[in-house]
């Protein structure tokens, strides 16, 4: 048994003896985000632990720590070989953990794993769970803690760019969800409740809505009615109610694009006419539709036709019309000036 233990220790320690001793300065001179730098600090930490003498009861802490360092080196090399970026686990982040049956705490490495190591914080944590690996020696605990902290800081520095990119991505995701509320299609509470009741798909913060239900959605828009000539066109404000419809969202988050478009049935109400029915097509805040009003004697849909538009669309059209009008006026006035200044003009 003793011979086997010596052999095991020799096998465990052999790779450390064979490699040249690593200095922390060598590791610190490497690029923080390079897996090779993490491998470097893993080797440095192994070298440190190789020099430590410990009681047989506390050897478990050293052996487990060394095992984790080897795994860290393997993981870092695998990442380097693959050429892909992926994070390394935060195994060496220490925690203060309350022990069972007491509020007394110990420092913990690899908490909840089969190779968990507990380090004394000076509080009485007895009785410990059966099989616990507990480092009572304060100098050894301090040494392991300091080494773990150093390794954790290198792993943290390696992970940082990926974590920060992840944080930026989460912020964009959060902003997109908020945009749906503030600037997306504004479902009213009953629409939202019905949509939620009918949607049985899995909910996830990462799954933005692809579609929304439109259900008895009221809004205010404009109807444009015509006469026999286009100069007879006039608009009036009307109440739109969309009894049923469907909306689709499209998100291109990396490029900051957020759009929605939808199609719905439309009922138009105003004080001057019998109701009109038709359809509405919307693209973001712009919507255009066609309705036909009931006749005055309510005998059928034989009343006036009208084109409907949201106020936003009308404003865009008005703005475009104004620009065209201004440009035309500009050309006319230049032409007049040119005629006045031309041959025979004063």
């Amino acid at each position: 048994m003793r011979r086997r233990l010596v052999l095991l220790l020799a096998l465990l320690l052999a790779p450390i003896g064979a490699a040249s001793a690593q200095t922390l300065a060598q590791c610190e001179s490497g690029k923080a985000e390079a897996p090779a730098t993490v491998s470097c600090v893993a080797k440095w930490a192994e070298d440190q632990l190789a020099k430590v003498a410990a009681d047989k009861d506390e050897m478990c802490g050293i052996v487990r720590f060394q095992g984790r360092l080897r795994q860290l080196d393997i993981d870092a090399k695998a990442i380097a070989d693959s050429g892909r970026s992926s994070m390394l686990p935060a195994d060496f982040a220490m925690q203060k953990a309350s022990m069972p049956g007491t509020e007394a705490k110990a420092r913990a490495l690899f908490w909840g794993e089969v190779d968990e190591v507990l380090l004394t914080l000076g509080e009485d944590v007895e009785p410990l769970p059966v099989g616990a690996c507990f480092i009572r020696s304060k100098p050894l605990a301090k040494m392991l803690e300091d080494t773990a902290e150093k390794v954790a800081s290198f792993v943290g520095a390696y992970n940082k760019p990926m974590q920060q990119a992840g944080a930026v991505s989460l912020r964009t995701l959060s902003d997109t969800w908020q945009w749906i509320i503030t600037d997306g299609f504004g479902q009213f509470p009953w629409e939202r409740a019905l949509d939620d009741a009918l949607d049985h798909s899995a909910m996830s913060p990462f799954k933005l809505p692809s579609r929304q239900l439109i259900f008895f959605h009221p809004s205010v828009g404009a109807e444009i009615l015509g006469g026999s000539r286009w100069t007879d066109l006039r608009s009036r404000t009307s109440l739109f109610v969309e009894p049923i419809g469907l909306l689709r969202y499209r998100f291109d988050i990396p490029n900051g694009k957020r759009d929605y478009w939808g199609l719905s049935a439309l009922v138009v109400l105003n004080a001057d006419e019998p109701p009109g029915v038709g359809g509405l097509l919307r693209m973001n805040k712009l919507a255009i539709g066609v309705v036909r009003h009931y006749s005055s004697d309510h005998s059928g849909l034989s009343g006036k036709w009208a084109v409907t538009a949201t106020i936003e669309l009308l404003e865009r059209v008005q703005s475009a019309r104004k620009k065209v009008g201004d440009a035309a006026d500009n050309i006319k006035s230049r032409a007049k000036l040119g005629g006045a200044d031309g041959p025979g003009g004063e």
């Binding site: 992926s86 994070m87 686990p89 935060a90 982040a93 925690q95 203060k96 953990a97 309350s98 069972p100 049956g101 007491t102 509020e103 705490k105 913990a108 908490w111 909840g112 914080l121 509080e123 009485d124 773990a148 902290e149 390794v151 954790a152 800081s153 290198f154 943290g156 992970n159 940082k160 974590q163 920060q164 990119a165 992840g166 944080a167 991505s169 989460l170 912020r171 959060s174 908020q178 509320i181 503030t182 504004g186 009213f188 509470p189 939202r192 939620d196 949607d199 909910m203 996830s204 913060p205 990462f206 809505p209 009221p218 809004s219 205010v220 404000t237 009307s238 109440l239 109610v241 105003n270």
Partner: protein, 339 residues
């Protein structure tokens, strides 16, 4: 010296930016009562305030604005009257503040918007930290416990490119006060099973070392579908039923903090010497005895009357999932009796 960041996640009601200032002051004042405490606890712990109530405010404001546009057009009195309940939605009131926040949280879009905001806020803080020895904990209250459950689970399950936490990241402690995570769980995220905000020794993918569950025995909010993990401190789970009376609003975070069972472990996050174990145990024992009441209650008779009045409110079945309306009505009635 190592750093310890504690995320503070609020519950129902109005919590604008800066809401945690009074809570942190309360924590400092409580810690200062102990002669073992040197300096301010808020100098040892970094309290980071998390706000998500603005999401609900934005939703209510949107509905109010959309309704106002219809009202302003004055086109159809019947439609305007039918929507009049949206008028003044942002102004609140006890019932709306309590139930309204919960209803908005139950709605998918507002729930995900609030949760992703908290995920982004926590992720940003963790990703920014440089120290290899920084620890992180969460103190969540009421609705905030359900939000914390969602946010931690979201962070844990983030796809590549959206991961702000490294693999094997653990929060040191989760203080879940007036826990509603089971009441407000959903089909795809269950508080006892699929949640990631569980102790690691209870569930291998759990994201905290110690999970502390607090409820006051007369607080109606955590009573309905009470969170009660069927395990012990061997798995890192601790539960504490409080029975102290210092203010009528038993649900308030400040009232829960009054009890050493909550502020004691918070103090020990900074340094175990802030409150040695024996002193903590003695303080907790006092709160079962001589210190059981104080503040707004100066006599035992007042406490007994208060307890009887709340006890007289008819209780629904707290476990059935079919009677959410009845359970909400009970909560409102009990809160009204308390306040």
């Amino acid at each position: 010296m190592s750093k310890h960041i504690v995320f503070l996640i609020h519950g129902v009601g109005n919590h604008p930016k800066g809401w945690s200032k009074d809570v942190v002051k309360k924590i400092d004042d409580l810690a200062a009562r102990y002669d073992t405490m040197s300096g301010k606890l808020s100098d040892q712990l970094d309290f980071v305030e998390i706000c998500y109530g603005d999401i609900f405010d934005k939703q209510l404001a949107r509905w109010e604005d959309d309704f106002d546009a219809i009202k302003a057009a004055a086109l159809n009195a019947q439609v305007t009257d039918a929507l009049s309940w949206l008028d003044g939605a942002t102004k609140g009131g006890l019932a709306w503040d309590t139930v309204g926040d919960v209803l908005l949280f139950l709605s998918k879009t507002t729930r995900m918007a609030a949760v992703t905001k908290v995920m982004a806020d926590i992720g940003a803080v963790v990703a920014k930290e440089k120290g290899g020895d920084t620890e992180f904990s969460i103190l969540a209250h009421s609705l905030g416990t359900a939000v914390a459950m969602e946010a931690v689970s979201g962070l844990a399950m983030a796809p590549a490119g959206s991961q702000a936490l490294p693999p094997k990241f653990l929060f040191t402690e989760a203080f879940m006060v007036a826990n509603t995570s089971r009441l407000l769980q959903r089909k795809d995220l269950q508080a006892y099973t699929t949640s990631s905000l569980l102790p690691k020794k209870y569930k291998a993918s759990g994201k905290c070392v110690t999970y502390r569950n607090y409820y006051h025995r007369l607080d109606p909010i955590p009573w309905v579908r009470r969170f009660d993990l069927q395990t012990t401190d061997v798995d890192g789970y601790r539960v504490f039923a409080m029975d102290h009376y210092y203010q009528r609003d038993l649900h308030a975070l400040e009232h829960y903090l009054e009890h050493p069972a909550l502020h004691g472990p918070l103090m020990r996050l900074g340094d175990v010497a802030n409150l040695p174990v024996k002193k903590l145990n003695d303080a907790i024992a006092d709160f079962h005895g001589t210190q059981r009441f104080g503040g707004e209650f100066s006599k035992v008779a007042e406490v007994e009357t208060f307890i009887n009045d709340i006890g007289a409110v008819a209780k629904p079945n707290p476990e059935t999932e079919d009677d959410l309306v009845g359970q909400m009505k009970f909560i409102i009635a009990a809160l009204k009796e308390m306040l």
